[in-house]
């Protein structure tokens, strides 16, 4: 239905550049996440796409048509806000019907559409309530319902799950994914939670300081991060970075990145691998895996094991990682080589 092309979009507040010339091509029906630390300009970019903020330069195309000059209401884009922004004085059903009423759609159509959306999201029993009478999770759903009810060309979400507790967050993200599959709608999902982005997205746009760092499928971003920032931002716990001189074979000016999940105590199995020796400093059990903090030289390196019973803090230890799993970065520029 809707493709979105962002062409060299820049945005400044006064003299402060928030977006520094971004290019993004989002395909029809794609689920794209904007991922980055807080303050990197994700919400600003989202608001620019929705038309709530003017862009300073560049252009935004929808289905090939330039929409940069259109009012928000002529773009047919829906947005789920971080704080939901439900109209506090309207019942749930009126919140959901508001956009259609503004378009002067026939009342019968509105009722049918509200019934459809509320059934889809399991909101039927809340239709007569005021937003203040709902719990956080219910409000979040109403916000999604209000967004999809008018059948928008694209659905934008600004950290919609960040105000929910952990269990509900996991459940709602599955629901959002299902909804997107069901409606085959183009979704842009803003988050600072890399796990959320990985699970949900067809592609992730990683942003930092108003600059697009990488735009690729989740596993590509994970395995082949474009630079050191992406590598450290994606994946938990963070990737280990070691000077190239410390890891055999790589000269100076290089940084070697190894994910903790790829690094484990050597078991002598074959295959081409990278080996590191150090002293075990700390054991952190985390359920399915146990993290080992190993002191190598004067840096702490995190590794994982599934069987921690054999290890004691203070003992010497050899770690190894499959050679194909390590990333090499230029120490000066941070770019992957």
């Amino acid at each position: 239905m809707t493709s979105i092309n962002i062409r060299a979009v820049a945005k400044t507040y006064g003299n402060f550049p928030v977006l520094k010339g971004l290019d993004l091509d989002i395909a029809d029906g794609e689920f794209v996440s904007f991922l980055g630390p807080s303050g990197c300009g994700k919400s600003t970019l989202l608001f620019c796409i929705a038309g709530l903020e003017d862009i300073t330069s560049g252009s935004i195309l929808m289905d090939g048509r330039d929409i940069s000059e259109l009012d928000p209401r002529d773009r047919n884009i829906a947005l789920v806000f971080q704080d939901y922004a439900l109209y506090p004085h309207m019942k749930v059903k009126d919140n959901m019907a508001f956009a259609l009423r503004q378009q002067k759609v026939a009342e019968a159509t509105i009722q049918q559409q509200v019934a459809w959306a509320s059934e889809l999201l399991g909101l039927e029993q809340f239709l007569e309530r005021m937003p203040a009478e709902l719990s956080g999770g219910q409000r979040q759903r109403v916000a999604v319902g209000r967004a999809i009810v008018r059948n928008p060309a694209a659905l934008l979400m600004d950290e919609p799950l960040s105000n929910l507790d952990a269990a509900l967050r996991v459940r709602m993200r599955t629901e959002i994914k299902r909804l997107q599959r069901e409606l085959k709608i183009t979704v842009i999902f803003v988050t600072h939670d890399q796990e959320e982005a990985m699970v949900l997205s067809d592609r992730i746009a990683v942003m930092h300081g108003g600059v697009l760092q990488q735009f690729d499928e989740p596993m590509t971003v994970y395995r082949q991060p474009a630079n050191r920032f992406v590598a450290s931002f994606i994946g938990s716990p963070q990737m280990n970075f070691l000077p190239g001189s410390m890891v055999g074979g790589h000269g100076g000016g290089r940084l070697v990145g190894i994910r903790p999940h790829d690094l484990s105590p050597a078991d002598g199995a074959g295959g081409e691998s990278v080996r590191l020796e150090g002293e075990l400093a700390l054991i952190e059990p985390a359920g399915p895996v146990t993290f080992l903090d190993v002191l190598i030289g004067d840096t702490i390196v995190k590794a994982t094991t599934t069987d921690p019973s054999a290890f004691r803090p203070g003992q010497r230890l050899t770690l190894e990682a499959p050679a194909r799993m390590i990333c090499l970065f230029d120490e000066a520029t941070g770019a992957r080589v």
Binding site: A50, G51, L79, A85, F98, A115, G122, R150, L168
Partner: protein, 632 residues
């Protein structure tokens, strides 16, 4: 384990009882405020009930108990019903006017634009200045032969339109009401602004995306959000209109004929011109009851509405998780094409219109005040020129010299002008003292009210304090007059300070309660755990944290005291204690044209402190309005 727990319980029986007990500190904190309010509001009110049940013989000065006779006389007099009708008209005009104008002002002042801070200060000026000065200013704008408005019309070549504006009865009532609106609209604007600022910013963004234009957003989003504020604001505006007295005293004194004789004026005339204390008290009691009814209406209609708490039940499963057959989606027609100006035209056009609106607001607020300043530096002779003109023949500081250095200008300055410097000092001393007392006591009371609102004692005494907001000063001033005369305090600054506590103490307690509510309770608890006594906790932790609120409360109290006219008029009679509004009103009684120059100079001096406050402390005033129960 359980045994040792039980024994430790019995070992320290005192400890258990402490838990959940209201500390004596809370009662000690409200006690001074409640006692003083009882003394300065409760006793006078009771006394005026007594007065209203008696009749005095003006010749023998004997009091006779007459039961409800005064009420019967008053309620059967047609004067009263005419006054009620005029009051209703005046109040209706004032409430509609201040609400609409105040909302427009607030909407403009809520936008971001260069010079917003300046415009906010300028808009506040008509409200910050004393109603007496407002009256002086506008009565000369509307004055018959030489008034500013007529002079302006003459200058513009429209001399035939010139007319004695306040000469026609109905027009006079409207113009006085308009003046009242000019004076009161900024207060409404402050309170609406507070409501607008508490509005989540994303609400408008969501509505924009939902396709609502600016007009639809105002009516469907902003106005419903403001509804509780607006209802409260109109109650305050109604009460302020019912009690409007000062500008009437200056501008029309109930005339021409009885065209502007509203309820408050009638009560004043009965009590202090006819000296029918009993009937006057009865009449003012009717006004008090009316105000109380409004107050009760406020509590019933607007009292905190209970919202069912959002339960934390698990979410029902959405049908996305099942595989059942689902309802079909409706076919929504494509977005209608709207006609609109292209953005590069609409933007500058919108900006220009907004700029024009801001200029109109600036002129509305500042121009009358500037014309007062102009009159104060024009020679007095200019005021009676024929034909009249607003262009001064020359500029002079003679008027200021006359009021500020009365000894120097030989023979030039009159008795009245000589009173100005000392009255400024009186106003300042009374204002400083009463603000200090009220804010100190109000802060402690506010703490107890904020932290123990759930307890019945605090809840009801807070309500009682709020009700005093609805008591017209006119009702209190008659008992004050008689009581202060009895204890020989009449015509002293002390009498003014005591009587001003009647409305400033509830105000400051209420404001401080609102501020302290905004401070998390955990802060108190942290300080108590760190070993502070409650008093020390307030002194070292809470008071520094709520300092902006304290400053705002001080400003509001000082302004209200500086501008107060009615009580000062009745309770003072000599320059020893007269405040500047009283001296200003005295100029008018003398009615010599050469006195008007010094009078304008004195008016300018009287509005100087409020204007300075509006400019320097504008941000505190906007914050202070959040607490709502603001003195008009």
């Amino acid at each position: 384990m359980s045994l040792s727990l039980a024994s430790s319980d019995t070992a320290k029986p005192g400890r258990r009882r402490r838990i959940g007990r209201t500390p004596a500190f809370a009662y000690a904190a409200v006690a001074p405020t409640l006692l003083i309010v009882c003394a300065v509001v409760g006793i006078p009110l009771a006394y005026s009930v007594y007065l209203s049940l008696n009749s005095t013989n003006p010749i023998t000065k004997k009091w006779i108990f007459v039961g409800l006779n005064n009420y019967v006389t008053v309620l059967t007099s047609p004067d009263l019903w005419w006054a009620i009708a005029r009051t209703a008209y005046f109040a209706g005009f004032a409430v509609v006017g201040t609400t609409i104008l105040g909302t427009i002002l607030a909407l403009v002042l809520n936008q971001r634009f260069p010079g917003r801070g300046l415009l906010r200060s300028v808009v506040l000026v008509p409200w910050a200045m004393a109603p007496v000065s407002v009256g002086v200013l506008w009565s000369f704008v509307f004055a018959g032969n030489y008034g500013t408005l007529n002079a302006l019309l003459t200058d513009l070549g429209l001399a035939s339109w010139a007319t004695p504006w306040l000469g026609n009865g109905f027009r006079a009532l409207n113009l006085v009401a308009l003046t009242h609106v000019w004076n009161q609209a900024p207060l409404t604007a402050l309170m609406v602004l507070a409501g607008l600022q508490s509005m989540p910013g994303n609400l408008h963004k969501a509505a924009m995306l939902d396709g609502a234009g600016p007009v639809a957003r105002f009516f469907k989003i902003t106005l419903p959000w403001l509804k509780p504020n607006l209802l409260f604001i109109s109650i305050i505006a109604t009460i302020n209109a019912l009690m409007a007295f000062d500008i009437l005293w200056i501008m029309t004194r109930g005339g021409p004929g009885s065209a502007t004789t509203v309820f408050a004026w009638l009560g004043y005339v009965y009590s202090f011109q006819f000296f029918k204390f009993g009937e006057g008290a009865a009449m003012l009691y009717v006004l008090t009851i009316l105000s109380f009814l409004l107050a009760i209406f406020y509590f019933v209609v607007l009292g905190p509405r209970r919202v069912r708490a959002a339960e934390d039940r698990p979410l029902p499963s959405s049908s996305l998780e099942g595989t059942l057959k689902r309802r079909a989606m409706a076919i929504i027609p494509p977005l209608p094409r709207r006609w609109h100006l292209p953005r590069h035209v609409a933007r500058p056009l919108g900006k220009t219109l907004f700029f024009l609106l801001a200029v109109v607001i600036f002129i509305w607020s500042a121009l009358p005040v500037l014309s007062l300043v102009l009159m104060s530096i024009s020679p007095a002779g200019d005021l009676i020129r024929t034909p009249p003109s607003i262009v001064p023949s020359t500029l002079t500081f003679d008027n200021f010299r006359a009021v500020l250095m009365p000894q120097v200008g030989t023979g030039g300055s009159s008795v009245q002008a000589q009173r100005v410097p000392y009255s400024l000092l009186n106003s300042f001393l009374v204002g400083a003292a009463v603000s200090l007392i009220c804010v100190v006591l109000g802060t402690f009371a506010g703490y107890a009210f904020a932290r123990y609102e759930k307890l019945r004692f605090f809840k009801y005494s807070l309500w009682a304090l709020l009700l005093t907001r609805m008591t017209p000063a006119l009702t209190l001033v008659l008992p004050f007059f008689i009581m202060f005369r009895t204890v020989n305090l009449i015509d002293t600054r002390t009498a003014l300070i005591i009587s001003y506590c009647s409305f400033l103490l509830p105000l400051s307690a209420w404001m401080m309660k609102s501020y302290i509510e905004g401070v998390p309770k955990s802060l108190d608890r942290a300080a108590l755990i760190d070993g502070c006594s409650r008093f020390k906790m307030m002194w070292t932790i809470l008071i520094p944290v709520v300092r902006p609120g304290i400053i705002a409360a001080l400003i509001f109290c000082f302004l209200a005291s500086w501008n107060e006219f009615l009580m000062a008029l009745i309770l003072t009679s000599t320059p020893n204690s007269q405040t500047i509004p009283v001296v200003l009103s005295g100029f008018l009684s003398q009615a010599q044209f050469y006195e008007y120059g010094p009078m304008f100079a004195a008016s300018v001096l009287s509005i100087l402190p409020p204007v300075l406050i509006a400019f320097v402390f504008q941000r505190y005033l906007v914050q202070g309005a959040l607490s709502g129960a603001v003195k008009g």
